[in-house]
Symmetry: C2
Subunit: 368 residues, 2 copies
């Protein structure tokens, strides 16, 4: 008899020379990255921000949708969009990055959403802070986790589920955490969680639950699939691992010049060229970006733009380069105030998370 | 010495068991399809419409951008956005599909943008008709082609170029052809050609030149790369082939139930289930859609929605199905008033264009 187990296969690593599979391609055709030239926009325009959607985009009616606050609270609540919009309104510029960014560049490659380096975006999220709402509900003194449930429903590794992620209470009570109903000044788009999503500044994307329908306070640790099974840094399949939480530092170069359609190799004329890009970290402010134009042999400090977007937004950087004819490999490396920096050797783990290996941008500078 | 030839490799077919390459994946991460559940929207919302961008998205200033009309005309023109907006305003609902849709399902697979079935969208495009503008400019009696040039610049197969496509004069003068500055009631997004693009209802996407900066009337046939080399139906690399023009008929099923994350296999509970989806053709109105729930062994007629979106918009369809426990393969087949229909064997050509082979949606219906 056919059961829900039959639709999922076990997780696996690709064979050494195995190309991207049709299943990975099917995910890539849905879940797109930011086109790297769009790093030019400080605030990522609609449709260019990366997307990672586990199941289908739900079809929710903003006129009737409500979020409940329940579990270990004194006063359970239910708030519709009008009630949420009547509460204090905050706008924050926040860089979101998928925890799986960089996965398809790993050797061996964990078979899942095959990101290269482009699963990022920086948007302005508007909503109401979560912490005052939790305090109004009266969370129990012995509360441990707060579980956020989306309206998106599917199967992963044989487990049928609504998408659910928990935050430890202390993280849920951070003042920066928002229940967001607008992105870049407009109501959320369907694919970004319309009509309501969570925003957890500094954390990888899996924490920012979309299509939010329930907030549930628990006095025991949450052991749901997305916390206990999926988003963990493991050495191998038997390792219980540690949770994926905050975004590791990363810088991206906005590829200069113009591309070849198929190889995406960049073509430049020789001469002075200002390289620029963005850098971010979820742990602490970015304090330096270094640039290489020789594939990592040497590094030079980049000039950082003002941190005008606030502490959770990416930061612009630029670097003057004299492009000489020939082939070059560009890259950039961010370091944050916690001392974390980007590795030049891959930080491999079984799920392919948080691979912030330095990007390689291949460039051909034409003869003068 | 390094030249522009060195950034491009010749076109090729994948080896029989060759997985998707990193180059194809890099294109897939940029150029996304419509998530198939978004077939629920008659008008595709921002960010869910498919995208195919040959080079980089240019950074144009709508305040200063202008399009020129020149070549074999009596009165060359230059019009900025204000001038275009002051002209007659028309809104048309138009289904756009990439000519390469279906390419990655072909055997052997042409190595290029690896679309499965999702390179489509249906939007409302607002702009001003092109034909009156060409008449005002006074096109030469012996004009043959009208060349449209975008501001996007790159290299393909060693040819450095601005993206350029020509239409035969008769096609350029069709009353439906628009110079569009809005999509779904808002100014064009950067990735859809902001601030101005061409819309050629009924034609595959390559004709709808984005970031339009010049319109050039020619008295000799245009032999630019995108017309003479790229978008042609060829049996093999030596075949001169025929141009890719209008969209072949296609129907897509909106996958029912809910998905497994990785395999995208659909899971349903048994019982009555209304299947629905969209169907379109660029040659003539869709006159019938047939549905299969047994992988093509038998077909039943679907009910067509009204053609309320006009003759160039996709048309909704639905079909009542009783889902019985077990595995099923769903599909749909559109036929248009010209008698064209979808094949059940792949329509192979060297560039992988216009593959409108019937879609396969794998479904598991659980026990009752």
């Amino acid at each position: 008899m056919t059961t829900v187990d039959d639709v999922s296969r076990p997780s696996r690593l690709a064979e050494p020379d195995e190309g991207i599979t049709v299943e990975e391609l099917r995910l890539a055709a849905r879940n797109h990255g930011i086109p790297l030239e769009a790093l030019r926009y400080d605030v990522t325009p609609a449709g260019l921000h990366y997307l990672l959607i586990h199941y289908d985009i739900p079809d929710l009616d903003p006129a009737t949708h409500a979020v409940t606050v329940g579990g270990a609270v004194d006063r359970p609540l239910a708030l519709d969009l009008a009630a949420l919009r009547a509460r204090p309104r905050v706008t924050r510029r926040v860089t979101l990055e998928c925890a799986g960014n960089g996965r398809a560049l790993l050797h061996p490659r964990p078979v899942s959403q095959p990101w290269l380096v482009e699963a990022v975006g920086n948007a302005e999220w508007t909503g109401t802070p979560l912490a005052p709402l939790l305090r109004e509900a009266g969370i129990a003194a012995d509360a441990v986790d707060v579980v956020f449930t989306g309206a998106d429903h599917g199967v992963e590794r044989g487990v049928e589920q609504d998408y659910q992620r928990a935050l430890p209470v202390a993280d849920a009570l951070r003042e920066e955490v928002l229940l967001a109903y607008e992105m870049n000044g407009a109501p959320l788009l369907p694919q970004h969680g319309a009509p309501l999503r969570l925003i957890v500044p500094g954390w990888y994307g899996m924490a920012h639950v979309k299509w939010l329908r329930a907030i549930d306070v628990r006095t025991e640790a949450f052991d749901g699939y997305q916390n206990a099974v999926a988003y963990r840094l493991r050495r191998d399949a038997d390792d219980p691992g540690v949770p994926v939480t905050r975004i590791e530092p990363r810088a991206l170069v906005r590829p200069p010049g113009f591309p070849d359609f198929m190889s995406r190799t960049r073509v430049l004329r020789p001469g002075p060229c200002t390289l620029d890009g963005r850098a971010w970290s979820g742990h602490a402010p970015v304090v330096s970006v270094e640039v290489t134009t020789d594939g990592g042999a040497t590094w030079a400090p980049a000039r950082l733009d003002d941190q005008s977007g606030g502490e959770f937004a990416w930061r612009g950087w630029r670097h003057e380069w004299t492009a000489e004819p020939g082939r070059h490999v560009l890259g950039a490396r961010a370091t944050d105030a916690s001392g974390r920096t980007q590795p030049v050797e891959q930080p491999w783990n079984r799920g392919g998370f948080a691979n912030n290996l330095v990007q390689r941008v291949e460039v051909v500078v034409l003869p003068g």
